[in-house]
Protein backbone atom coordinates (compact mmCIF):
# COMPACT_ATOMS: atom_id res chain seq x y z
CA UNK A 1 0.00 0.00 0.00
CA UNK A 2 0.99 3.62 -0.43
CA UNK A 3 1.55 6.23 2.27
CA UNK A 4 2.31 9.90 1.85
CA UNK A 5 4.79 11.88 3.92
CA UNK A 6 3.30 15.37 4.13
CA UNK A 7 4.49 18.84 5.10
CA UNK A 8 4.19 19.49 8.83
CA UNK A 9 4.58 23.26 8.56
CA UNK A 10 3.96 25.97 6.00
CA UNK A 11 7.18 27.13 4.36
CA UNK A 12 9.56 26.32 1.54
CA UNK A 13 10.88 22.90 0.65
CA UNK A 14 14.57 23.19 1.49
CA UNK A 15 15.34 19.73 0.14
CA UNK A 16 14.18 16.14 -0.06
CA UNK A 17 16.93 13.88 1.27
CA UNK A 18 15.72 10.56 -0.14
CA UNK A 19 15.50 9.29 -3.71
CA UNK A 20 13.22 6.94 -5.55
CA UNK A 21 13.91 3.37 -4.49
CA UNK A 22 15.47 4.29 -1.13
CA UNK A 23 14.52 2.24 1.89
CA UNK A 24 13.34 4.45 4.77
CA UNK A 25 12.65 3.64 8.39
CA UNK A 26 9.97 5.08 10.65
CA UNK A 27 11.31 8.26 12.21
CA UNK A 28 13.90 8.82 9.47
CA UNK A 29 14.26 12.31 8.02
CA UNK A 30 13.06 12.33 4.42
CA UNK A 31 12.76 16.06 3.75
CA UNK A 32 13.48 19.49 5.22
CA UNK A 33 11.20 22.54 5.34
CA UNK A 34 12.54 26.07 5.65
CA UNK A 35 10.35 28.25 7.88
CA UNK A 36 11.02 30.93 10.51
CA UNK A 37 14.63 31.12 9.24
CA UNK A 38 15.24 27.63 10.49
CA UNK A 39 15.21 24.15 9.01
CA UNK A 40 12.54 21.71 10.15
CA UNK A 41 12.91 17.99 9.62
CA UNK A 42 10.07 16.03 8.08
CA UNK A 43 10.29 12.43 9.25
CA UNK A 44 8.63 9.34 7.88
CA UNK A 45 5.89 7.85 10.02
CA UNK A 46 6.39 4.50 8.28
CA UNK A 47 8.93 1.91 7.26
CA UNK A 48 8.87 1.70 3.49
CA UNK A 49 10.39 2.25 0.05
CA UNK A 50 10.34 5.63 -1.69
CA UNK A 51 7.99 5.30 -4.67
CA UNK A 52 8.32 8.90 -5.79
CA UNK A 53 9.52 12.29 -4.62
CA UNK A 54 6.71 14.82 -4.94
CA UNK A 55 8.28 18.05 -3.63
CA UNK A 56 11.28 19.85 -4.97
CA UNK A 57 13.51 22.63 -3.69
CA UNK A 58 11.77 26.05 -3.30
CA UNK A 59 8.25 24.61 -3.54
CA UNK A 60 5.85 26.58 -1.34
CA UNK A 61 4.21 24.18 1.06
CA UNK A 62 1.22 24.17 3.35
CA UNK A 63 0.55 21.72 6.17
CA UNK A 64 -0.60 18.44 4.62
CA UNK A 65 0.95 18.96 1.19
CA UNK A 66 2.51 15.71 -0.10
CA UNK A 67 6.32 15.58 -0.14
CA UNK A 68 7.28 11.92 -0.55
CA UNK A 69 5.26 8.88 -1.62
CA UNK A 70 6.14 5.57 0.05
CA UNK A 71 5.30 1.97 -0.62
CA UNK A 72 4.82 0.19 2.69
CA UNK A 73 3.83 -3.37 3.43
CA UNK A 74 0.38 -3.96 4.87
CA UNK A 75 1.75 -3.94 8.40
CA UNK A 76 3.54 -0.63 7.76
Amino acid sequence: MEKIVTAIMPGLCARVVVSEGDKVAKGQEVAVINCMKTEISVNSEYDGIVKSVVSKEWDELQVGDPMVLLTVDNNG
Partner: protein, 327 residues
Protein backbone atom coordinates in the same frame (compact mmCIF):
# COMPACT_ATOMS: atom_id res chain seq x y z
CA UNK B 1 7.37 18.77 36.92
CA UNK B 2 6.83 18.63 33.19
CA UNK B 3 9.08 16.10 31.50
CA UNK B 4 9.49 16.89 27.82
CA UNK B 5 9.12 13.95 25.41
CA UNK B 6 9.20 15.96 22.17
CA UNK B 7 10.03 19.65 22.01
CA UNK B 8 8.11 20.08 18.77
CA UNK B 9 8.88 22.80 16.23
CA UNK B 10 9.59 25.65 18.66
CA UNK B 11 8.40 25.48 22.26
CA UNK B 12 9.43 28.14 24.76
CA UNK B 13 8.75 29.42 28.24
CA UNK B 14 7.25 32.90 27.88
CA UNK B 15 5.48 35.34 30.19
CA UNK B 16 3.95 38.80 29.69
CA UNK B 17 4.81 41.66 29.36
CA UNK B 18 8.27 40.20 29.14
CA UNK B 19 11.60 41.81 29.96
CA UNK B 20 10.84 45.51 30.01
CA UNK B 21 13.32 48.31 30.59
CA UNK B 22 16.41 47.05 28.80
CA UNK B 23 16.03 48.34 25.25
CA UNK B 24 18.88 50.78 25.88
CA UNK B 25 21.09 47.79 26.65
CA UNK B 26 20.10 46.15 23.37
CA UNK B 27 17.76 43.63 25.02
CA UNK B 28 14.31 43.18 23.55
CA UNK B 29 11.31 42.42 25.75
CA UNK B 30 10.63 38.93 24.37
CA UNK B 31 7.41 37.63 26.00
CA UNK B 32 4.46 35.70 24.64
CA UNK B 33 3.75 36.20 20.95
CA UNK B 34 0.03 35.96 21.78
CA UNK B 35 -0.40 37.52 25.21
CA UNK B 36 -4.19 37.16 25.06
CA UNK B 37 -4.10 33.37 24.76
CA UNK B 38 -1.41 33.08 27.42
CA UNK B 39 -3.42 35.40 29.68
CA UNK B 40 -6.68 33.51 29.27
CA UNK B 41 -4.97 30.16 29.93
CA UNK B 42 -3.46 31.57 33.10
CA UNK B 43 -6.78 32.98 34.31
CA UNK B 44 -8.38 29.57 33.79
CA UNK B 45 -5.93 27.90 36.19
CA UNK B 46 -5.95 30.70 38.78
CA UNK B 47 -2.63 32.33 37.85
CA UNK B 48 -2.00 35.99 37.17
CA UNK B 49 -2.54 36.59 33.42
CA UNK B 50 1.14 37.38 32.81
CA UNK B 51 2.51 34.27 34.55
CA UNK B 52 4.94 32.18 32.51
CA UNK B 53 3.46 29.41 30.41
CA UNK B 54 4.56 27.15 27.59
CA UNK B 55 4.33 28.71 24.12
CA UNK B 56 3.98 26.03 21.42
CA UNK B 57 4.69 27.25 17.90
CA UNK B 58 3.86 25.02 14.95
CA UNK B 59 2.95 22.04 17.13
CA UNK B 60 4.21 18.54 17.98
CA UNK B 61 5.05 19.26 21.63
CA UNK B 62 4.73 16.25 23.94
CA UNK B 63 5.33 16.03 27.68
CA UNK B 64 4.58 13.98 30.76
CA UNK B 65 3.38 15.41 34.07
CA UNK B 66 5.24 13.91 37.00
CA UNK B 67 2.79 15.32 39.57
CA UNK B 68 -0.89 16.22 39.76
CA UNK B 69 -1.64 19.67 38.31
CA UNK B 70 -4.42 21.85 36.93
CA UNK B 71 -3.74 22.94 33.36
CA UNK B 72 -5.38 24.87 30.53
CA UNK B 73 -4.62 24.93 26.82
CA UNK B 74 -5.44 27.99 24.72
CA UNK B 75 -4.55 29.52 21.38
CA UNK B 76 -4.94 27.76 18.06
CA UNK B 77 -6.27 24.22 17.91
CA UNK B 78 -3.36 21.75 17.56
CA UNK B 79 -5.70 18.87 18.50
CA UNK B 80 -4.28 18.54 22.03
CA UNK B 81 -4.70 15.16 23.70
CA UNK B 82 -4.16 13.84 27.19
CA UNK B 83 -3.32 10.12 27.17
CA UNK B 84 -4.60 9.97 23.56
CA UNK B 85 -7.97 11.51 24.46
CA UNK B 86 -8.85 14.95 23.10
CA UNK B 87 -8.98 17.77 25.62
CA UNK B 88 -10.91 21.03 25.28
CA UNK B 89 -9.32 24.40 24.64
CA UNK B 90 -9.98 27.42 26.87
CA UNK B 91 -11.01 25.18 29.77
CA UNK B 92 -9.10 24.12 32.89
CA UNK B 93 -8.67 20.41 33.54
CA UNK B 94 -7.06 18.19 36.15
CA UNK B 95 -4.03 16.14 35.13
CA UNK B 96 -2.41 13.44 37.22
CA UNK B 97 1.10 12.16 37.65
CA UNK B 98 2.02 10.08 34.62
CA UNK B 99 -0.43 11.76 32.27
CA UNK B 100 0.97 12.62 28.85
CA UNK B 101 -0.06 15.66 26.85
CA UNK B 102 0.44 15.72 23.09
CA UNK B 103 -0.05 18.41 20.46
CA UNK B 104 -0.39 17.74 16.73
CA UNK B 105 0.10 20.20 13.85
CA UNK B 106 -1.53 23.58 13.29
CA UNK B 107 -4.93 23.77 11.65
CA UNK B 108 -6.27 26.14 8.99
CA UNK B 109 -5.99 29.20 11.24
CA UNK B 110 -3.65 30.27 14.04
CA UNK B 111 -0.04 29.38 14.71
CA UNK B 112 0.57 29.17 18.48
CA UNK B 113 -0.91 27.29 21.41
CA UNK B 114 -0.31 27.96 25.10
CA UNK B 115 -0.15 25.57 28.01
CA UNK B 116 -0.66 27.14 31.44
CA UNK B 117 -0.16 25.19 34.65
CA UNK B 118 -1.54 26.29 38.02
CA UNK B 119 1.44 27.74 39.87
CA UNK B 120 3.16 28.83 36.67
CA UNK B 121 6.41 27.65 35.13
CA UNK B 122 9.20 27.76 37.67
CA UNK B 123 12.24 29.05 35.82
CA UNK B 124 14.61 31.73 37.16
CA UNK B 125 13.43 35.32 36.81
CA UNK B 126 16.13 37.04 34.76
CA UNK B 127 16.05 40.83 34.62
CA UNK B 128 12.44 40.87 35.71
CA UNK B 129 11.02 38.19 33.43
CA UNK B 130 10.82 34.44 32.91
CA UNK B 131 10.60 34.89 29.12
CA UNK B 132 13.00 33.23 26.74
CA UNK B 133 14.89 35.42 24.28
CA UNK B 134 15.66 32.63 21.87
CA UNK B 135 18.02 34.67 19.70
CA UNK B 136 19.90 36.02 22.72
CA UNK B 137 19.99 32.60 24.42
CA UNK B 138 18.90 33.96 27.80
CA UNK B 139 15.86 33.77 30.04
CA UNK B 140 13.23 31.05 30.15
CA UNK B 141 14.46 27.47 30.32
CA UNK B 142 18.23 27.70 29.87
CA UNK B 143 17.71 30.40 27.24
CA UNK B 144 16.52 27.97 24.58
CA UNK B 145 13.70 25.95 23.06
CA UNK B 146 12.51 22.94 25.04
CA UNK B 147 13.77 19.55 23.89
CA UNK B 148 13.29 15.91 24.77
CA UNK B 149 14.53 15.07 28.24
CA UNK B 150 14.09 18.54 29.71
CA UNK B 151 12.48 18.64 33.15
CA UNK B 152 10.56 21.86 33.63
CA UNK B 153 9.60 22.75 37.19
CA UNK B 154 6.12 23.95 38.09
CA UNK B 155 5.57 26.65 40.74
CA UNK B 156 3.73 26.25 44.02
CA UNK B 157 -0.02 26.65 43.82
CA UNK B 158 -1.83 27.70 46.99
CA UNK B 159 -5.45 27.54 45.81
CA UNK B 160 -7.57 24.38 46.16
CA UNK B 161 -7.56 22.63 42.76
CA UNK B 162 -11.32 21.99 42.96
CA UNK B 163 -11.89 25.74 42.79
CA UNK B 164 -10.24 26.10 39.38
CA UNK B 165 -10.87 22.78 37.62
CA UNK B 166 -13.66 23.13 35.06
CA UNK B 167 -13.25 26.85 34.54
CA UNK B 168 -14.23 27.98 31.05
CA UNK B 169 -13.74 31.18 29.08
CA UNK B 170 -16.91 32.93 27.94
CA UNK B 171 -17.51 32.07 24.26
CA UNK B 172 -17.61 35.72 23.21
CA UNK B 173 -14.14 36.26 24.70
CA UNK B 174 -12.46 33.28 23.01
CA UNK B 175 -10.32 34.81 20.24
CA UNK B 176 -11.15 34.10 16.61
CA UNK B 177 -8.18 33.40 14.38
CA UNK B 178 -8.18 34.32 10.74
CA UNK B 179 -5.99 33.97 7.65
CA UNK B 180 -6.36 37.65 6.80
CA UNK B 181 -5.28 39.44 9.95
CA UNK B 182 -6.18 43.09 10.45
CA UNK B 183 -3.63 44.96 12.55
CA UNK B 184 -4.60 48.38 13.82
CA UNK B 185 -1.72 50.83 13.47
CA UNK B 186 -0.74 54.47 13.89
CA UNK B 187 1.57 56.47 11.59
CA UNK B 188 5.06 57.43 12.67
CA UNK B 189 7.77 58.21 13.40
CA UNK B 190 9.19 58.21 9.81
CA UNK B 191 6.22 58.89 7.62
CA UNK B 192 4.90 61.25 4.94
CA UNK B 193 5.82 63.74 3.64
CA UNK B 194 9.49 63.52 4.71
CA UNK B 195 10.18 59.82 4.11
CA UNK B 196 7.13 58.29 2.44
CA UNK B 197 4.75 59.65 -0.20
CA UNK B 198 1.06 60.13 0.62
CA UNK B 199 0.35 57.46 -1.97
CA UNK B 200 2.85 55.19 -0.24
CA UNK B 201 1.07 55.54 3.10
CA UNK B 202 -2.28 54.91 1.43
CA UNK B 203 -0.84 51.77 -0.12
CA UNK B 204 0.48 50.61 3.24
CA UNK B 205 -2.96 51.00 4.80
CA UNK B 206 -4.90 49.48 1.93
CA UNK B 207 -3.01 46.44 0.68
CA UNK B 208 -3.09 42.89 1.98
CA UNK B 209 0.35 41.32 2.22
CA UNK B 210 1.42 37.72 2.70
CA UNK B 211 3.54 36.90 5.75
CA UNK B 212 6.86 35.65 4.42
CA UNK B 213 8.20 32.23 5.45
CA UNK B 214 11.26 33.97 6.91
CA UNK B 215 9.16 35.44 9.73
CA UNK B 216 9.91 34.44 13.30
CA UNK B 217 9.89 35.75 16.88
CA UNK B 218 12.24 38.56 15.90
CA UNK B 219 10.32 39.94 12.95
CA UNK B 220 7.42 39.25 10.62
CA UNK B 221 8.31 40.04 7.02
CA UNK B 222 5.83 41.04 4.34
CA UNK B 223 5.82 41.44 0.57
CA UNK B 224 7.98 44.18 -0.94
CA UNK B 225 6.74 47.71 -1.49
CA UNK B 226 7.26 49.53 -4.83
CA UNK B 227 9.98 52.17 -5.22
CA UNK B 228 7.21 54.77 -5.51
CA UNK B 229 6.58 54.24 -1.78
CA UNK B 230 9.47 56.54 -0.97
CA UNK B 231 9.48 60.33 -0.93
CA UNK B 232 13.28 60.45 -1.12
CA UNK B 233 15.63 59.16 -3.78
CA UNK B 234 18.22 58.03 -1.24
CA UNK B 235 18.83 57.94 2.49
CA UNK B 236 21.05 61.01 2.64
CA UNK B 237 23.73 60.64 5.31
CA UNK B 238 21.95 57.47 6.45
CA UNK B 239 22.84 55.54 3.31
CA UNK B 240 22.25 55.07 -0.39
CA UNK B 241 18.74 53.58 -0.20
CA UNK B 242 15.70 55.70 0.70
CA UNK B 243 14.87 53.25 3.50
CA UNK B 244 18.16 54.22 5.18
CA UNK B 245 18.24 56.67 8.02
CA UNK B 246 20.80 57.62 10.64
CA UNK B 247 20.60 54.85 13.25
CA UNK B 248 17.86 55.32 15.81
CA UNK B 249 16.10 53.31 18.52
CA UNK B 250 13.28 51.09 17.30
CA UNK B 251 10.00 51.29 19.19
CA UNK B 252 9.58 47.56 19.63
CA UNK B 253 7.29 45.70 20.03
CA UNK B 254 5.17 46.74 17.07
CA UNK B 255 7.09 49.17 14.89
CA UNK B 256 7.07 48.50 11.14
CA UNK B 257 10.61 48.72 9.84
CA UNK B 258 11.23 49.09 6.10
CA UNK B 259 14.51 47.45 5.09
CA UNK B 260 15.16 48.08 1.42
CA UNK B 261 11.65 47.64 0.08
CA UNK B 262 10.63 44.94 2.58
CA UNK B 263 8.28 45.85 5.44
CA UNK B 264 9.39 44.07 8.59
CA UNK B 265 7.24 44.13 11.71
CA UNK B 266 9.58 44.11 14.71
CA UNK B 267 8.20 42.13 17.62
CA UNK B 268 9.16 40.06 20.67
CA UNK B 269 12.83 39.29 20.10
CA UNK B 270 13.39 42.04 17.53
CA UNK B 271 16.35 44.40 17.22
CA UNK B 272 16.35 47.46 19.47
CA UNK B 273 17.99 49.90 17.04
CA UNK B 274 19.09 50.27 13.48
CA UNK B 275 19.22 52.45 10.40
CA UNK B 276 15.90 51.95 8.61
CA UNK B 277 12.74 54.02 8.58
CA UNK B 278 9.69 53.04 10.65
CA UNK B 279 6.54 54.56 9.08
CA UNK B 280 3.82 52.95 11.23
CA UNK B 281 3.38 51.22 14.58
CA UNK B 282 0.99 48.36 15.37
CA UNK B 283 -0.93 49.11 18.54
CA UNK B 284 -0.13 47.10 21.65
CA UNK B 285 -3.65 45.63 21.83
CA UNK B 286 -3.18 43.93 18.44
CA UNK B 287 0.27 42.39 18.96
CA UNK B 288 -1.37 39.08 19.92
CA UNK B 289 -2.75 38.75 16.40
CA UNK B 290 0.79 38.77 15.00
CA UNK B 291 1.58 35.71 17.09
CA UNK B 292 -1.26 33.78 15.46
CA UNK B 293 -0.12 34.59 11.93
CA UNK B 294 1.48 31.60 10.21
CA UNK B 295 4.47 32.44 7.99
CA UNK B 296 3.93 31.36 4.41
CA UNK B 297 0.16 31.01 4.88
CA UNK B 298 -1.52 34.11 6.37
CA UNK B 299 -1.85 37.77 5.39
CA UNK B 300 -1.62 41.10 7.21
CA UNK B 301 -3.62 44.22 6.53
CA UNK B 302 -3.07 47.48 8.42
CA UNK B 303 -5.96 49.63 9.61
CA UNK B 304 -5.40 53.27 10.56
CA UNK B 305 -6.44 54.18 14.12
CA UNK B 306 -5.98 57.18 16.39
CA UNK B 307 -4.03 57.25 19.64
CA UNK B 308 -7.34 57.47 21.53
CA UNK B 309 -8.57 54.31 19.80
CA UNK B 310 -5.28 52.57 20.61
CA UNK B 311 -5.57 53.47 24.30
CA UNK B 312 -9.21 52.38 24.37
CA UNK B 313 -8.32 49.04 22.74
CA UNK B 314 -5.67 48.46 25.38
CA UNK B 315 -8.17 49.14 28.19
CA UNK B 316 -10.58 46.68 26.55
CA UNK B 317 -7.87 44.04 26.38
CA UNK B 318 -6.91 44.59 30.02
CA UNK B 319 -10.56 44.05 30.90
CA UNK B 320 -10.63 40.77 28.96
CA UNK B 321 -7.55 39.50 30.76
CA UNK B 322 -9.32 39.15 34.10
CA UNK B 323 -11.64 36.82 36.01
CA UNK B 324 -14.53 38.58 34.31
CA UNK B 325 -13.81 36.45 31.24
CA UNK B 326 -14.64 33.24 33.11
CA UNK B 327 -18.01 31.65 32.39
Amino acid sequence: MLKVINGGIETLVEDWPGRLGYLSKGMSASGAMDNVSLGLANILVGNKPGEAGIEITGGFFEAEFTEDHVIAVSGTDMQPKLNDISIPLFESIQVNSGDKIQFSHIGKVGFRSYLAVAGGIDVPVYLGSKSTCVFGSYGGFEGRVLKAGDEVKIGEFSVDSDKVVGNKIKPDVVPEYQNEIVLRAMPGPNTSPDYVTEEGMELLFSRTSKIQHTSNRSAYRMEELPDSFYARSDGGVGGSHPSNIVDHAYAIRGTLNICGNTPILLIADGPTLGGYICPIHVINADLWKVGQGAPGRDYFKFELVTQEEAVSARHTQNDILSDRSLL
